[in-house]
Symmetry: C2
Subunit: 367 residues, 2 copies
């Protein structure tokens, strides 16, 4: 006799494959197969996910960490708060539109913002390489100051370490941030459901391509700037005006494609994206083609992905477009039932393909 | 006519020198004289202080940062909280008595504890070098897990970055921590006053000397272990039992001497230390002599310095000695009026000398 009370109808072969895959992923305790860390472990893609699940999640297992959202949420004496951290190792340190300093502030501000928190206080930890120019450090810190002012946050505590020449790359910065969650309800990618709509707040990939070009290794000249910006204002307008928002993410490392995969897996839904609808400026499209990278995987540092109740999608689009950072917002796809766990792209050529997590890392040290 | 209403009596020459020095330091906006970062900027000594004051404090100036305590304190919806951060770049990563993992947890737990906060939540940011062994990372994370369990904190959010070979040194970790302050009153080194007594919770310098010896560059064999430990329990016992505690610090980078200098400067008092009374185990004393380092400057990672009202000193000593981490606690000195801003050491040879901030960095990458 079967231990299962309900025997499901036999699925067709394709469905069975998908079901098997998900079931296997659930049962399998992931393992890092490599003996040594590779750059792809830092890509935000498949290798990063395995590393996080196999090593960090397994060791630190606790209910606050497990949702693997951009920030952890907790309550102290009735105050609902969010806590997040990010290290920044971008190379080069200075690039058109920004530097590691404003990136480090905006990145953490954005992680708090997309968790529905009002960003308040930041920490700043510097790892400096012996020989780093004090003038460059001053410039970076000044840029952090300006970014913090714009975002309305305060850097309240910090730390500086110095390592010998050849043991870092000029300057690495870690920021952690605390915010307060003042709105009711909980945002989370696991709440996405069929019928929901997916939006982005603007053209994608500008940050990542700017960094690649700033390295000067490629003979491409493009008039391009990083999109680094603090999205807390955009997020606040959206959440205040549109009650149907289910989840927000900033599309950094791994790009929009990675976020959509996380949504598909966390909510056990399909995400169906219309390639034509994804806003990409010509310079990014051109450079991406030359680099052989899909812009969907390229990091932004001031763009958000929004999952919203289908009925509220028009409102969300309108509210976002009214904000300077969302002027070119667009609906790019929708949530469907099947196949759960996958991101499907309806291509401009009329076909459909699966958009999977990145396996390698075509763009190391982008943030 | 003088703008000053009261003309002070002319001080003697020595007092005048000290007064001039303090006055100058107050008026001078500090400047980093070096064009490039040196290891001494990470020592915790004079160069670090100048860097922090000239670059970070100047840019981020705000009332929460300015006390330059180990953690910043703020209130959200009535909940009094502390936030702190530290990056860890210790070399080697594994050493007798611990590794970078428990060090990173204990360090941040301790910064919260000495601020009077109950440590609650930690973030963990990893910067890994391409080629780093996954087995070593697993060992480090496991050690963080155990340290977090002992300290009663949860690692609730994290981040992993990977940089190319030669751009880091295996593994750097940043931890930030949030704690809640449940006791009334404010601890702070600026509150130290003449008549107060200075204690340490145990023998000093074991961590720093252990690291130096673990590098294997010196032909010294000593049976020594790092003192890395979470002092939150010791601190809680002390604060619960002794209302006269004015300030607590964990004596990490720069050692006890650096802490005492910070007390002298913040409170504008003199700190008078009795060298004979400072607990130092034989192995640390021996190795320090061979290395030409004063144990007062050597980092501990599980020892606290306590400034307490003179009347409560005996109580404090007794309470600390009852705790396993304070079994060898000792009174090492007292706070005096003059000369303000200086630390004086009554040496075992009957002389008195000024214990200044470190100028160089004899022990780089100790934490």
């Amino acid at each position: 006799m079967s231990t299962r009370e309900h025997t499901p109808a036999l699925p067709n072969e394709r469905e069975q494959q998908v079901l098997d895959r998900i079931d296997k992923a659930r049962r399998r305790r992931p393992k890092v197969r490599e003996e040594r860390i590779t750059l792809s472990h830092g890509s935000g893609g498949k290798a990063t996910q395995t590393l996080v699940e196999a090593i960090f999640l397994d060791a630190f297992r606790n209910p606050l960490l497990e949702p693997l959202e951009d920030a952890a949420e907790f309550t102290i004496n009735g105050a609902r708060m969010a806590l997040t951290t990010d290290s920044f190792v971008v190379s080069p340190l200075f690039f058109p539109g920004g530097d590691i300093g404003d990136l480090a502030v905006n990145g953490t501000v954005n992680d708090l913002a997309v968790s529905g928190a009002t960003p308040l206080y930041l920490t700043a930890g510097f790892i400096l390489e012996e020989g780093f120019e004090v003038a460059d450090l001053t410039r970076i810190v000044d840029s952090m100051r300006r970014a913090a002012e714009i975002a309305g946050v305060q850097v309240v505590t910090g730390d500086t370490k110095v390592v010998q020449r050849g043991k870092a790359d000029g300057c690495y910065i870690n920021t952690a941030g605390v915010g307060v969650i003042e709105r009711q309800g909980t945002l989370g990618i696991a709440t996405a459901q069929p019928g929901d709509v997916v939006l982005v707040s603007g053209p994608i990939g500008e940050h990542g391509i700017t960094i690649m070009l700033a390295r000067g290794e490629l003979d491409i000249d493009a008039d391009l700037e990083s999109d680094t910006a603090a999205v807390h204002g955009l997020v606040a307008s959206l959440l205040d005006a549109v009650p149907g928002v289910r989840a927000l993410r900033d599309a950094t490392r791994g790009g929009v494609a990675t976020i959509l995969n996380e949504v598909a897996k966390a909510a056990e839904v399909a995400v169906v994206v219309d390639e034509k609808a994804v806003p990409v400026i010509d310079e990014v499209r051109g450079a991406s083609e030359l680099l052989g990278i899909d812009p969907l995987y390229v990091a932004c540092e001031g763009r958000i992905v929004v999952v919203v109740d289908g009925d509220a999608a028009e409102d969300a689009l309108e509210v976002m477009r009214r904000h300077p950072l969302g002027a070119n917002a667009a609906v790019i796809g929708r949530i469907a039932q099947d196949p759960p766990g996958l991101v499907l792209l309806n291509t401009t050529f009329g076909g459909t393909r699966i958009v999977d997590l990145l396996v390698g890392d075509p763009l190391p040290r982008i943030c």
